[in-house]
């Protein structure tokens, strides 16, 4: 019996041991052989917080900050953690309804899964931030994230500086290697976009211990694994913010653009486009609303006309026509043409403002009097140059010249979206004239006076002035002169702006004749009424015909004549004479830059000029119509804008609006793109697109 009991004791003890061995076996399995639990614990408990560094600051040429940072907060949400949140109270705080709440949560889940944080309400106003910060403990799953917001202290230079915006999935796909995450911001336009990598800096990561409700308990391992955020580097631009402000002021109530470049370096001093907008309106909480408004504006304030507007240069092209002929050796500066008021050698006459009197007896006079006949003739000589087998060859040579002068090619300024404008190819004319080489110089003669299919951007026109001012070379125009702590890696940005481009092989004395001709313009020519106090300057006016209504006023100039420090081009759309509507802008800008101030008289003139309203009636009517329907359709419009807010400015052309021929007579239906026969058309009212068929009348006023 005792032995039997002894056995039973052993059985019981064995049972204990077996169970303990099983437990220990499982512990070995869990604690020693499984590594996943450690990772799972870390995933549970360690919260990675991305620390956004301050973006780089952009300075003007006098080291004034023109784009800097302020702090705002985003309300972030992790949908999975937000299930128990006090929906009703949050909605009350944010002034939204629960349907909107649910919509945003669903959007967040679609965008960024339910376990990662997404932006719920971006860029809270200070009052809202204060309220939320007090009550955030009531809303599990929601948190406030500090966000450095851009601010533009001068409320100006919107088109140059650009703006930042939240990245979308397409952007993330394209920039997979750059470490962007959903909810990050990136430069979407202007310098913000071009120099994104310089400005963004390097994000840091802080690790925190977080409890089961997502509340932070303190830093992880005393922050040993944290990486610090490295602030973005600053950019030093050549912009003179005062000149820029003046330019924008002068272009108020007009549509157009002005570009000022320092010809010695290619540094852009000012680049204005009008209509513009206050860049600060795209930073705060009302960004969405404002962006929608800008995007739908028919005057297209988001378009930087300085690099995207394509205008026929008109008469401002003439000095260049002379340069080509000189460089090819077709003419000498003393070459003259007997103009009797029109160029008649090709049948249909091209009228000229002056008649007889030897106003085109040499190059200088031809420029000074802006003789159409002279330059049409010189152009024809270039195309029909006997050195080439046929006019097409001659034309190609001429086109090559244009390209070296920076026309018909993008110059490569450090702004995104620069267009190349147009110097048409021979194939274009082959098509126009119904077959290969069925055209001669006579058919395209108005190219010689900057019309026909030729277009240029204001930037290209300013660059032309640089070439003439420099007597044969230019530096690629650029806004950023230097990057803070520049390294060898930054050559990718800066190197191309430090290369001198020699474009002609003409003696300085010949250039002097062209400059003299341009100076004559300012003494007794079309710009005679305009002065730059204290400086001799050279200019060329242009009044470019276009199929969109009144002529575009074009004005190009540089000053001082002997030691040029500024080259300017100004275009005012649909206004009239170049000397009247574009000239004052250019001379005032030069005066401001060269003298650092305006004389009292100039100040007054600037004030008056800025008040002149040259916006075409069609656009005004559009505004009027919009205003009147706005009140009635407030709600619908808001919805519409929300759907469109994330479209980029560059995609404006894809925005479809209902065409109203009464309101927008300049619009044309682009059948190539919209074959569907409903009344949906592209919105391209203000620009010269190359749709203009062969022109009927090519006459240029001086």
């Amino acid at each position: 019996m005792s032995v039997y009991h002894h056995n039973k004791k052993r059985v019981i003890q064995t049972m204990f041991v077996i169970v303990f061995i099983i437990i220990i076996g499982q512990l070995i399995n869990l604690q020693i052989f499984s590594t996943k639990y450690r990772i799972m614990a870390d995933n549970n408990a360690i919260y990675r917080k991305v620390i956004y560094p301050d973006r780089g600051i952009i300075y003007d040429r006098k080291k004034r900050a023109i784009l800097e940072n302020t702090i705002m907060f985003d309300l972030m949400v992790i949908p999975a953690d937000a299930k128990n949140t006090d929906k009703v109270e949050l909605c009350k705080l944010l002034n939204i309804d629960t349907t909107e709440y649910r919509k945003r949560i669903v959007t967040a889940i679609i965008k960024n899964t339910s376990v990662k944080s997404s932006v719920f309400e971006p860029l809270l106003s200070p009052e809202l931030y204060a309220k939320l910060n007090e009550n955030i403990y009531k809303f599990p799953g929601f948190m406030l994230q500090e966000r450095s917001i851009r601010s533009y202290p001068y409320n100006t230079a919107a088109a140059i500086l650009g703006y930042i915006g939240e990245v979308d999935t397409g952007f993330l796909r394209r920039h997979r290697a750059d470490g962007y995450e959903m909810g990050d911001y990136t430069g979407l336009n202007g310098l913000e976009r071009t120099y994104e990598k310089v400005l963004m800096g390097q994000r840091g990561i802080k690790r925190f211990i977080r409890d089961n409700r997502g509340r932070l308990q303190g830093s992880f391992e005393n922050g040993d694994f944290d990486t610090t955020a490295i602030a973005g580097r600053n950019l030093y631009t050549s912009i003179d913010i005062e000149v820029q402000q003046l330019a924008e002021k002068l272009l108020q109530n007009k549509i157009g653009s002005a570009v000022a470049i320092n010809p010695k370096t290619g540094s852009v001093i000012a680049m204005a486009t009008s209509p513009s907008y206050n860049p600060n309106s795209l930073t705060g909480s009302s960004r969405r609303k404002n962006f929608g408004k800008l995007l739908l504006d028919t005057a297209r304030p988001l378009l930087n006309r300085a690099i995207k507007g394509q205008y026929p240069p008109g008469s401002t092209f003439k000095p260049l026509g002379g340069l080509v002929a000189l460089d090819e050796g077709i003419i000498t500066p003393s070459y003259g043409f007997n103009c009797m008021g029109a160029y008649v050698n090709c049948g249909k006459p091209v009228r000229c403002t002056h008649a007889g009197g030897g106003h085109a007896s040499d190059l200088r006079k031809a420029i000074a009097y802006s003789c159409n006949s002279y330059f049409v003739h010189v152009f024809r000589m270039a195309v029909d140059n006997p050195a080439f087998a046929n006019p097409q060859q001659g034309y190609l040579k001429w086109k090559e010249y244009m390209n070296t002068f920076g026309l018909g090619v993008p110059l490569g300024i450090d702004l995104p979206g620069e267009v190349k404008a147009s110097i048409p190819d021979t194939s274009r004319y082959n098509k126009d004239f119904g077959g290969f080489a069925r055209w001669k110089s006579c058919n395209i003669l108005t190219l010689g006076i900057g019309q026909d299919r030729m277009t240029a951007t204001p930037l290209q026109l300013a660059n032309l002035m640089c070439i003439i001012a420099n007597r044969g070379y230019y530096y690629t125009p650029h806004l950023v002169d230097s990057i803070e702590n520049e390294t060898i890696d930054d050559t990718v940005y800066m190197a191309k702006y430090r290369v001198k481009h020699d474009v002609t092989h003409i003696a300085d004395s010949t250039y002097r004749i062209i400059q003299d001709g341009m100076e004559d313009v300012t003494i007794f020519g079309t710009a005679a009424r305009l002065t730059v106090p204290g400086h001799k300057y050279c200019a060329k006016t242009g009044t470019a015909q276009n199929p969109h209504g009144k002529n575009h006023a074009v004005f190009t100039a540089f000053a001082p004549k002997d030691n040029p420090r500024i080259a300017v081009s100004v275009v005012v759309e649909n206004s009239g004479y170049g000397g009247t509507w574009a000239g004052p802008v250019a001379t005032l800008l030069m005066e401001k830059y060269l003298n650092d101030t305006l004389t009292e008289a100039s100040e007054k003139r600037a004030e008056e000029f800025s008040k002149i309203d040259l916006i075409p009636a069609a656009i005004k009517q559009w505004y009027y119509r919009k205003d009147s329907i706005r009140i009635a359709r407030e709600r619908e419009k808001e919805k519409e804008m929300e759907q469109r807010h994330d479209l980029d400015a560059d995609t404006t052309e894809n925005i479809k609006t209902t065409f109203d021929p009464e309101a927008e007579p300049n619009k044309k239906e682009d059948n190539n793109k919209n074959n569907n026969e409903n009344k949906i058309i592209k919105q391209t009212p203000m620009l010269n697109n190359s749709n203009n068929k062969k022109k009927k009348k090519d006459t240029t006023l001086p």
Binding site: I23, L27, Q31, D211
Partner: protein, 447 residues
Amino acid sequence: MNYQYHSMRASQKTDYLIVGLYAILVAIGIFCIFMVEYNPDINIFQSFIQGNTNYSKQLYFAGLCTIVATFILLSDSKIFTAFANLFYAFGILLMLATFVIGDNINGSKSWIRLGGGFNLQPAELCKIFTALALAKFLSRQETDFTKIRSQIIGALIALSPAVLSVAQSETGLALVYLSFFIVMYREGLPATILIIGFSFAALVVATLLLEPNVLALILTVIALIFIYILRKQIKKQTKILTFIILIWAACVGIQKFAVPYIFNNVLKCYQSTRIYSMIGKDYDCSKNKHANVNPAKPIKKPDDYNVRQSKIAIGSGGLLGKGVLKGTQTRGKYVPEQHTDFIFTSLGEAFGFVGSFIFLMIYLLLLFRIVRIAERQRSAFSRVYAYSVVSILFFHIAVNICMTIGLFPIIGIPLPLVSYGGSSLLTFTVLIFILLKLDADRQMVLR
């Protein structure tokens, strides 16, 4: 049975190893609760004094238990034998009273409010009374535990509180009473009953793990193998064949019909879900009779949050642990009920495998020591009581730790002496110190 009748001189030698192990475990318990509740912003000393936190409360409970233990050691061991049945009757009455005056705490109506923030769980106390009553019954001169009648009475004594517990929705506590079968086995209950019980459990698990038809096939194959092996005996005695076929039929019947019936009709939806989730399967609650099925509502995912977090905590401890107060799972309060049922996780996370192993060895030492004490008793009462104590302890330890490491479904069973809880600590203290008192007086003849 060669009982030696010594003189009546009572050895007052208390077994200090057990007292020491007891103290160590209670201390570990308070320390673990401290790790769970640690808040760097609060002055530790102050919080211990003020008694706002669970670790300070547990410290007070430990103080109370010391007083109770001293009283037990100073008492006369005869009262335990004398009043065993009375205690048991009192315990059963208390449990019945719970149905009338009990309060619903944590979803089970098994508590009686004592006032002053203290609550009593009679089912907990009843363990002591049952152990005493069983010891009393088995130690009677006239009890012959080899007889079925005695066995049934013993089982009734052990299982009556369990039935009442189930009625109070305290399934976990009810299961504890199954541990008395270890005692009864020691006292002569045939091993076959235990084996059948285990086999049934194994069959249930197999049923859960395998497809019904596959399992039926396997059982059939096993039966055929037995028939093949025993074919010569079968030729002599056809009874054996009938027997095997009967067992086979019973097994298939159980796995095909009985087990699904239990899961769908006896157990509640959440209980079935927990048991299924332990083996990594989803339980379809729509099959459950108790579930108020809402067809529009999608069936929830297996409710394995607790055990997942518990496994993460223990698993992330690694070999040496993360160190005191460095456990992220513990600090972040990811494990629910970590200061009570899941207290082992804080230890596993902080001290890793090495710490857990040492901790388990302390328990094993305690169990072995009690078995040794049990075997050295001269009176059947003391021996049965000692085995009751060790069985209850073992059952608690095994089930609690197995449930934290995912080897057992989650049922609310505390870890003896370590988990937070006054009732639990007091119960185990009383259990152990009555044992020590009986052991100290083992030279006295107790009947």
